[in-house]
């Protein structure tokens, strides 16, 4: 049995130690906002916050989850009360197919939590591990910049 928190709620799962958090979320907890894309940390579609840090959930095994604090796209915000990054994604109409966007948004939320005013290069560096096959990169950049501005404005 492994106990950890997901979006603030405590969960206990009975799963083998080598099972990735990705599949615990999707198949055991039925939280499918976190996406399976590659399984080898090459696409970033499964990005979650692990103790506050953006990580690929396909690489986070159950054996290291005990006591961990996990945040997924479902815990970031919803359509009624979106996180500023989600709001920017909607305002900028970023998504095409949208399959990579949960991961992109989690990655961007982590970036802005740690760097409220990232340069273009810092945005590029932070976001380049997240693959988008549709080519939404120009709008991702614009949405990250816009979310950063709004988050800074609301801080002051």
């Amino acid at each position: 049995m492994t106990t950890f928190t997901v979006n603030g709620e405590t969960v206990t799962v009975d799963a083998p130690g080598d099972m990735p958090l990705l599949w615990v979320l999707r198949d055991a907890l039925k939280m499918t906002g976190t996406k399976y894309g590659c399984g080898i940390a090459q696409c970033g579609a499964c990005t979650v916050l692990y103790n506050g840090t953006a990580m690929r959930s396909c690489q986070l095994r159950v054996q290291i989850l005990d006591g961990a604090d996990i945040k997924t796209i479902e815990g970031l915000g919803d359509t009624e009360a979106p996180h500023p990054v989600q709001a920017a994604w909607i305002e900028h109409q970023v998504a095409q197919c949208g399959y990579c966007q949960s991961g992109q948004i989690m990655q961007a939320a982590w970036l802005l939590a740690n760097n409220p005013d990232p340069s273009d290069t810092e945005i590029d560096n932070a976001m380049s591990g997240n693959l988008c096959r549709c080519g939404t990169y120009p709008r991702i950049r614009a949405a990250v910049r816009s979310a950063a501005e709004k988050m800074r404005a609301s801080e002051t």
């Binding site: 039925k30 996406k35 399976y36 894309g37 080898i40 479902e74 990579c100 693959l131 988008c132 549709c134």
Partner: protein
């Protein structure tokens, strides 16, 4: 069934010369409208006026039968209906609807005819007429060929107008007011005294009303929605992780499955040993399926792990085991015996080449490519003795339905395909492997819902590839002009490969082999285009932009080679040769936008390409710089003309997405074979463009053309050529073979 229909079933006409012989359908068959599939399960008091609109006492539902693969198809289809039906966003639901013949797509079929889409001659129109009729009789429901907008533009606005006028008739009868005193706005019929009667309250009365057949469509100057920025209804859900893609579905009591089948595509399964796998945790069943094995488990992870533990003995591939053998087969196809068609011969190329001097001979190469949208293939099924349900995102839903019916032994009507939002496709979801295997699993586990998920590696191993190809070009240049171009292209027929699997075998030459080449607007005085069909190698399929993805690269890199040899300017010479005013304006626009001819830095280069595909001209200028970290793509300017931009945000997304797709694959993607298997198994070996490599992209949309066209694919083909030409301009190194990362490093 008429004989004509049987002929059509056996030999479909996409890209086919068979139409010249003519296939006659009985007048009755061709004029008869298809049944409205929505009438099959209307509730009491619910009205449906046509296959795209239904209204009940509590909701308005619009049907969007073109599959949403990320291009915003549901949104634009709904907007087309809502425009004429006077609905605001938020006042209706949008559903994919059931697969049905009523949703046939004549435009996709017509565009496959061996005529330029802009050819309005008698022969072309007659040919397209026959093919469009065939699409109707066959009920060919397909999403592809950038045809969603052109197919829907009149049809769905008409559907909205018909519903509106019928609702007005109902209101007229119920409220005893003449129709001409009624108007509609925001989901309601307004009576002369200003009272609003919501459509929903008129549903029951409208259900009794004869459908108004004659309607007039509004002038675009009256549009409220179309042509203006629209917020897509799926984007909030896609931004909060709450949109269920096919792979996300959960049914009560559902099991999770995966498959392993011969990675040598089409090869047999000789033997396997699943003893170890059988004992692994969570494994419910290990089943035999075609050329492979399915593992059914409690969760997907356990299914993957058990599949990894099975030991297989796979049969040989039905194509050359090594990549070298594929290239050799393409090279060997430049021979009379494989000539598919001479698509164009202006002037006298042989005489011009004989007079010389000949520039070239140049050879250009394009590798196999995979689709690999980010959502892996999946499908969820539930089969019982009476019916089968399948939840899957599919671009060819009626063919998928038929495949399920054949496998589970039910009539097609008993198969219910629930079309889903797709996490990308790029042509991948025109194929049937996930559907076939889901059905094979479902029929062995009747009564239990099962979700089949392909691992990324399994998906890579079984992608039906973009065609491999070679082009050979000779030319004559004189006085800074191209005087002659002799271009030969050899590829396998992706359409014949694909349509064969869809049960629609093709006859005649394949217009996709020379696509992006023969239909160019360049009036080179001596110009010949010959297409050779390489016998099928690895199975291939439609990959975003299909034939033009290879042809456009070949033609426009060759043009640059010849223009350089002539000592001319790439834009000026193209403009001089251009004989279609629509294309000329697109070229001029991209020249203006990019400030073509303005000075650049030492290691900076610009490249230009213009390609015609899917009825659309697209010109792109790429600017690169060669620095210590490698070549970086800094800027792209795009000009195009789709007649009318209906959804500006989606248009912008499709344009830029197509450019990024074209550039990314040209940079670093190829699929190669070793021992009959693809050597690329995941994105670490097939990455495409990453965000840090993405250029700034500026777009100009012209609206000079008279026909409304789609833009999902046409921006792909110029990208690779423009990039190659830019790298040449910056470095002097001419890249005639993709991927370019074989020859240069990208930053």
């Amino acid at each position: 069934m008429s004989r004509a229909k049987k002929i059509a079933r056996r030999t479909f006409l996409i890209g086919s010369a068979a139409i010249v012989g003519g296939v006659a359908f009985g007048i009755y068959t061709t004029r008869q409208p298809h049944d409205n599939p929505l009438l099959n399960d209307l509730a009491d008091g619910e009205a449906s006026f046509n296959p795209w609109v239904k209204i009940s006492a509590d909701r308005v539902t619009l049907i969007a039968p073109h599959t949403d693969i990320g291009q915003g198809a549901r949104s634009i289809q709904a907007a087309l209906i809502a425009e004429e039906l006077d609905l605001e966003f938020g006042q209706f639901d949008v559903e994919a609807g059931p697969p049905a013949p009523a949703y046939f797509n004549a435009v996709a079929a017509k565009d496959g005819a061996p005529f330029r889409q802009r050819d309005d001659g008698v022969m072309a129109n007659t040919g397209r007429g026959v093919i469009g009729t065939a699409a109707k009789v066959l009920g060919l429901q397909i999403t592809g060929g950038s045809s969603t907008v052109p197919d829907s533009f009149d049809k769905l606005r008409t559907a909205g107008a018909v519903a509106r006028e019928t609702l007005k008739r109902a209101a007229s009868r119920v409220h005893n007011v003449p129709v001409d005193q009624l108007r509609t706005e925001a989901g309601a019929v307004y009576l002369p005294d200003g009272e609003a009667v919501p459509y929903t309250t008129l549903a029951a009365a409208a259900a009794e009303e004869p459908v108004v057949e004659e309607v007039t469509l509004r002038n675009p100057s009256q549009w409220r929605l179309l042509g203006k920025d629209m917020m897509r209804s799926d984007i909030p859900a896609k931004s909060t992780g709450t949109l269920d893609f096919g792979i996300d579905l959960q049914l009560d009591g559902m099991l999770n499955a995966t498959v392993r089948f011969n990675p040598r595509q089409g090869g047999a399964l000789n033997a396997y040993n699943a003893e170890a796998a059988q004992t692994l945790p969570g494994v419910h069943k290990i089943l035999e399926v075609s050329n492979g094995v399915a593992v059914v488990a409690d969760n997907t992870w356990n299914a993957f792990k058990a599949a990894d533990a099975i030991v297989f003995d796979w049969g040989e591939a039905p194509y050359p085991a090594e990549s070298a053998g594929h290239w050799a087969a393409v090279e060997a196809s430049f021979a009379e015996a494989y000539l598919d068609r001479e698509w164009r011969h202006d002037g006298d190329v042989d005489a011009a080449l004989a007079a010389g001097p000949v520039t070239g001979q140049f050879e250009y190469r394009a590798p196999y490519l995979a689709h690999q949208p980010l959502e892996p293939l999946s499908a969820t099924v539930l089969v019982t003795d009476e019916r089968a349900d399948i939840w899957v995102a599919h671009q060819f839903p009626r063919q998928a339905q038929q495949i399920v019916a054949d496998i589970v032994g039910l009539k097609r009507d008993a198969v219910h395909l629930h079309n889903q939002y797709a996490g990308g496709s790029f042509g991948h979801r025109l194929e049937f492997e996930n559907v076939r295997y889901a059905a094979e699993i479902g029929v062995q586990l009747k009564g239990t819902p099962v979700k089949l998920t392909f691992s990324r590696e399994e998906d890579f191993a079984h992608d039906f590839l973009r065609q491999i190809g070679i082009s050979r070009v000779s030319g004559v240049v004189a006085d800074k002009r191209i005087e002659a171009m002799d271009i030969e292209v050899a590829t396998p027929s992706a359409l014949a490969s694909q349509m064969g699997r869809a049960g629609l075998p093709m006859a005649g030459p394949d217009a996709q082999i020379p696509a992006g080449i023969w239909d160019t607007p360049y009036a080179i005085p001596n110009f010949r285009v010959r297409a050779y069909r390489v016998p099928e190698l690895a199975p291939t399929s439609s990959w975003r932009a299909v034939g033009a993805s290879t042809g456009g690269f070949f033609l426009e890199t060759a043009m640059d080679d010849l223009i350089h040899a002539a000592g001319a300017d790439p834009l000026e010479e193209r403009l001089r040769l251009c004989d279609d005013p629509i294309a000329c304006r697109v070229l001029e626009a991209v020249g203006e936008l990019s400030n073509w001819g303005s000075p650049t830095g030492d290691s900076v280069g610009r490249g230009l390409a213009l390609v015609y595909s899917f009825g659309v001209y697209v010109a792109e200028v790429v600017e690169v710089s060669d620095g210590p970290r490698g070549v970086s793509i800094d800027k792209v300017w795009v000009a195009t003309d789709v007649g009318r931009v209906l959804d500006p945000i989606a248009f912008d997304n499709q344009v830029k997405g197509g450019v990024i797709w074209g550039l990314g694959h040209a940079m670093n993607c190829e699929i190669t074979f070793e021992d009959g298997r693809t050597q690329q198994s995941n994105y670490h070996q097939y990455s495409g463009m990453r965000l840090h490599q993405c250029p700034e992209i500026e777009v100009r949309a012209l609206e000079n053309d008279t026909k409304v066209r789609g833009i999902g694919e046409p921006t792909v083909p110029p990208a690779a050529a423009a990039l190659s030409n830019a790298i040449f301009d910056a470095t002097g190194q001419r890249l005639r073979e993709m991927p370019f990362s074989t020859f240069v490093r990208f930053a």
